[in-house]
């Protein structure tokens, strides 16, 4: 079946602009996670959704970062007033519930000039 999909695959933006990254989880998966992978930082947790609510936002690095999930499916990660340090690969993962295996999408590579 279809895996986790993310769009766009690549995004180049100018410092100060807002960006939106999209994640389509595997159908039927109630849990959805966003992670960030930077050179030298490894994979870092950003936010967790169970259904449409986000009980764990502890990994969001600043108030410029926000995310929402609608219909218990698609999620959007928004970064406002992008900075160069926001450049990274943003990965989305989904699982049946928060105790199950997480399956990752291919990621969105964000470059802030």
């Amino acid at each position: 079946g279809a895996g986790v999909s993310q769009s766009p695959s690549n995004k180049v933006t100018e410092k100060g602009k807002d960006v939106e990254l999209r994640c389509d989880p595997i159908s039927g998966h109630t849990a959805l996670y966003w992670y960030r992978q930077s050179l030298g930082q490894g994979l870092e947790f950003l936010i967790y959704f169970q259904g449409n609510s986000a009980p764990d936002k502890s990994g969001l690095p600043s108030d410029r970062f926000s995310a929402e999930r609608t219909g218990g499916s698609v999620s959007t990660l928004t970064i406002q007033r992008t900075q160069q340090e926001d450049s990274a690969v943003y990965l989305c993962a989904s699982s049946l519930d928060n105790t199950d295996t997480q399956y990752f999408g291919p990621g969105t590579r964000l470059t802030v000039l």
């Binding site: 996670y33 947790f45 764990d56 993962a93 699982s95 997480q102 990752f104 999408g105 990621g107």
Partner: protein
């Protein structure tokens, strides 16, 4: 503080030369220990989940084991296509994964 450490950072093997990757962890409550494989430009691909000390799982040339403080990923007679970065992670309270820095494996023919 919960953390996971992987070693070595990089490993070069000749084809057929078996070895092991290490993942040591200190966590307040382990809900699951995960191994993923990541190829350049792609998202992590799930390999194994281990839940309790003594548990072992195998898949082709890979075998994962778990003790109370560490996990090993054993690679038997590796092939060049096994070259990748191998990531270890444990599951936290909300199911979020806490990752190690990864081990980059290169297998030469």
């Amino acid at each position: 503080e919960d953390q996971v450490t992987q070693s070595p950072e990089a490993l070069r093997l000749q084809e057929g030369e078996s070895s092991s990757l290490n993942c040591s962890y200190t966590v307040s409550g382990l809900r699951g220990l995960f191994w993923y494989r990541q190829d350049p430009g792609k998202g992590p691909e799930f390999l194994f989940t281990l839940y309790s000390a003594g548990e072992e799982k195998e898949k082709e040339r890979l075998k994962a084991t778990l003790t109370k403080k560490e996990s090993f990923l054993h690679i038997t007679a590796p092939k060049p296509e096994d070259s990748a970065t191998y990531l270890c992670a444990f599951s936290g309270n909300t199911g979020k994964l806490i990752f190690g820095q990864g081990t980059t494996l290169q297998v030469k023919p």
